[in-house]
């Protein structure tokens, strides 16, 4: 599955580069906006459908409880600590690097937000670091699930409510769906505030 994902990703990058540089007047937003959002909505519907059809899903969910709150909190803590340590490694401003990883993988938010608050250099870093977080999560789900069922949920951060959710559910099972979605949802809600708060300390 990951083979196909990487192949399609590479084709997408190539097609995007070709369309924007060699095809005059290609409506890029059809793909980057409508196709992206459209396929995301269809995906969420289909996954909800799979969950609703499953008779055992609700029973599995009932045993979840506390995880719904603890997981996103621990992920936020781990992400910001990761930013702190990498800031120390590269000699970057520590609040800047913590603000980057406080995007929790939501690169379309972290990129523009950090550009606005700290400038385009931090914005590029915010985009790249969070984009790579999503990419690394997708690529390593099948490995991480061997460590722990919730390890891919922790890795995905805010992305576990949309882009990485299908891959996670496929490898970790349908009973992870609610924890993954709610963790991603909580982190997506928190990300704008946490990024702004940490960045404002710089």
């Amino acid at each position: 599955m990951i083979k196909y994902i990487l192949l399609v990703l590479a084709i997408g990058v190539g097609a995007g580069y070709f369309a924007s540089n060699f095809v005059v007047g290609f409506p890029l937003s059809w793909v980057t906006y409508y196709l992206f959002d459209g396929s995301l909505l269809v995906l969420l519907f289909v996954m909800g459908l799979a969950f609703g059809v499953d008779r055992e899903a609700v029973a599995k969910l009932r045993s979840t409880g506390l995880r719904v709150l603890i997981v996103p909190f621990l992920v936020a803590l781990g992400s910001i600590l990761g930013g702190l340590v990498s800031g120390l490694i590269f000699g970057l401003d520590l609040f800047g690097s913590m603000a980057v990883t406080a995007g929790f993988g939501w690169y379309t938010l972290a990129g523009p937000l950090l550009t606005q608050v700290l400038g385009s250099q931090w914005g590029a870093l915010g985009f790249a670091a969070n984009f790579l977080r999503e990419l690394l999560t997708i690529v390593s789900v099948s490995l991480m699930v061997k460590v722990d069922k919730y390890a891919p949920v922790a890795a995905g951060g805010a992305t576990t409510m949309d882009t990485t959710l299908p891959v996670i559910v496929r490898y970790c099972g349908k009973d992870v769906l609610i924890v993954a979605f709610s963790s991603g949802f909580a982190l997506s809600m928190a990300a704008p505030f946490v990024v702004m708060a940490i960045a404002s300390l710089k």
């Binding site: 909505l41 519907f45 390890a151």
Partner: protein, 91 residues
């Protein structure tokens, strides 16, 4: 500042759950195949977004190394905390 658009994502998920509940016991199409197909479309448009943005492509090599380490450490510590708490608290 507060982005309400993420709330929109709950709608199709909830709608799907309701439809799935109503369709219980009936044979429906192979959902994992459908899901995989839609994932590929989503990944394609993600790649397209990066590939079609020249500023983004140009900035990737220069910030690449530190961004990679940041992503890796953010993932590493997140997984570490979650796995540690799961083993300690058995939740």
């Amino acid at each position: 500042m507060f982005d309400f658009s993420v709330l929109v994502l709950v709608v199709p998920l909830a709608l799907g759950m309701v439809c799935g509940f109503l369709l219980r016991g009936r044979k429906i199409a192979n959902l994992s195949r459908v899901t995989f197909g839609v994932i590929l479309v989503l990944i394609f448009s993600l790649g397209f977004t990066v590939g079609s943005n020249d500023d983004l492509l140009a900035s990737l090599p220069s910030v690449g190394v530190s961004a990679f380490v940041m992503a890796l450490l953010a993932i590493g510590f997140s997984v570490f905390f979650v796995v540690l708490f799961r083993r300690r608290l058995r939740f």
